[in-house]
């Protein structure tokens, strides 16, 4: 079976600085994969390179189709939704407009309307605030909105960059619960980048550990979580 996402020998550059040094990994349809690593290891860069937001070389294939020379906005049309670090909220627009923007590439108006209702069912707090400016939402609510906005695409694959960042532990639990549900029930494959390794390993099927732009470890999330040596040397808990 060909993997949904296949990354081969990915190298990325910020100006003269090389941030990724030949990274390879893959993600199967329906799975939930996490990329772990310390600050500056290259996790965010990996996600940005998949969506062609940084200069990179190497192969990124989605269902066997190369993504390398496509623009960020056209990659979205493959059904890849990227929730960036900092959530990327359209702060001066309403919550509902943010959701509509998530579906801006879709043509089925009726489907969009019913999906907005579906998001309100997933995240009741967004319904309460649907006419409010998104910038007035709390951090947790904005993260919910970012995930909901990504889901409005009806994505095949969702890329999440540190969804737990800056959120209270209880909110993080909630959010990860919802992500697991989306993965199981809506069959959305998820690639999540996290610093909160413990939580991410509980959620994921498969895990990769990145250090200074290289994959140094990979395996089933369970095995990595149970391996004390790896945990101590790479994940810091």
């Amino acid at each position: 079976m060909t993997p949904l996402l296949n990354v081969k020998d990915l190298r990325a550059y910020y100006g003269q600085v090389q941030a990724l040094h030949g990274l390879s990994f893959s993600l199967n349809e329906g799975s939930l994969v996490t990329l772990l690593g310390a600050n500056g290891a290259g996790k965010t860069t990996t996600l940005r390179a998949i969506c062609n937001m940084v200069r990179s070389t190497g192969g990124v294939e989605f269902e066997g189709k190369p993504l390398n020379n496509r623009s960020t906005e056209s990659i979205v049309r493959f059904g890849i939704a990227h929730v960036p670090q900092g959530r990327g909220t359209f702060t001066n627009m309403t919550v509902e407009e943010n959701l509509q923007l998530g579906a801006i590439t879709r043509k089925d108006r009726a489907g969009i309307v019913s999906d907005i209702e579906r998001m309100y069912a997933h995240f009741p707090v967004l319904k309460q605030r649907h006419t409010q400016q998104a910038g007035t939402l709390s951090g947790g609510e904005q993260q919910m909105l970012a995930v909901a906005r990504a889901l409005m695409l009806r994505p095949r694959l969702m890329l999440l960059d540190e969804p737990s960042f800056g959120l209270a532990p209880l909110v993080v639990r909630d959010l990860f619960g919802i992500l697991g549900k989306i993965n199981r029930e809506d069959k959305v494959s998820i690639l999540v980048v996290e610093q909160n390794a413990q939580l991410a390993l509980e959620l994921a099927d498969q895990a990769y550990v990145i250090e200074t732009g290289r994959i140094v470890m990979s395996g089933k999330a369970k095995d990595i979580a149970n391996n004390e040596e790896i945990r101590k040397s790479y994940l810091g808990y």
Binding site: C51, M53, S71, T72, E73, S74, V76, R77, A81, H82, P84, G88, T89, F90, T91, N92, M93, E97, Q100, L101, G102, I104, T105, R149, L153
Partner: protein
């Protein structure tokens, strides 16, 4: 009292033109973070096109519509050819680009149509409006067309998907790309619309200031004053600023001794400086905090 009312209404009428110019300036500013110094010249050139069409026997409103379409396409072309390559260039390069554009359009208009002043017709006539001496039918027409334009723009940006996409691309370009919006084309579209709006301002003011290659110089400065007063980050503010500047200019010209018609223009400049000193974000603008 009648003088006062008269001046206020006349101010609202010219203010409508400033509002259009300010709106055009703000739309481009929102899209690319630069002030388009050539906005006035682009409007002037469009106005000449409509005049030329009428010389060839096209009726006023047909010429008006053809000019709108021409301006829209020309705006997109200017963005694609000149400013798209400058997207990542420093501010001064862009400023040089705008000045070049200004000079090129100004002299081409002079070359094609020469620098003599031309009469420009009004479809509204210049009789007293509704039998009142306060305002002429042309002034009422200027206000009417502007209000209709503003309402149309409001509905476009608030209730259409492409309007939503354009707002998204202007406010958070990176996120806009991540939901699949082609931000580069949204900028081009913004240029097209801004140029069309500017052409409306040009065609409405031409009967008042007469048609010649330098006709929009003063108007654009008032437009800048309006945009700065309302806040460069707020299209709504730009419109309000336009009307305020129009009224203010007229009242100052009438009541402040020594100002008169000749010194009206420095008032706009003084207004720009005062706003920048006292409230740099303008009346309705947002303070933009940048992390460094």
């Amino acid at each position: 009292m009648e003088l006062f009312t008269n001046q206020v209404l006349a101010g609202i009428a010219t203010g409508a033109i400033y509002a259009c110019m300010a709106l055009a300036v703000v739309m481009i500013y929102q899209a690319i973070d630069h002030l388009n110094f050539a906005q006035g010249e682009m409007a002037m050139f469009s106005t000449f096109i409509s005049w030329q069409l009428m010389q060839w026997g096209v009726s006023y409103w047909a010429a008006f519509l053809i000019t709108l379409a021409f301006s829209f396409v020309a705006g997109i072309a200017i963005e694609r050819i000149l400013f798209k390559p400058l997207v990542k260039a420093p501010v001064l390069t862009n400023v040089a680009g705008f000045i070049a554009l200004f000079a090129i359009i100004n002299s081409s208009a002079g070359l094609i149509w020469d620098f003599t002043i031309k009469q420009y017709p009004t479809p509204f006539g210049s009789a007293p409006f509704l039998g009142s001496q306060l305002i002429s039918t042309h002034q009422a027409g200027m206000i009417g067309v502007t209000v209709a334009l503003l309402l149309a723009l409001y509905f476009f940006f608030q209730y259409t998907r492409i309007g939503l996409a354009m707002r998204a691309a202007a406010s958070v370009p990176e996120s806009a790309r991540l939901v699949g919006i082609n931000t580069s084309w949204m900028i081009a579209l913004g240029w097209g619309m801004a140029t069309a709006i500017g052409s409306i301002a040009g065609m409405l003011i031409a009967p008042v200031v007469f048609l010649e290659p330098n006709m929009m110089g003063g108007v654009l400065i008032y437009g800048f004053a309006a945009a700065v007063l309302g806040g460069l980050s707020s299209p709504f503010g730009a419109v309000v600023g336009g009307f305020l500047v129009g009224v203010f200019e007229n009242l100052a010209g009438t009541y402040i001794p020594g100002v008169g018609n000749e010194l009206k223009l420095p008032i706009a400049l003084a207004l720009i400086i005062s706003v920048l000193v006292v409230k740099p974000a303008g009346l309705f603008g947002r303070h933009i905090v940048k992390r460094v």
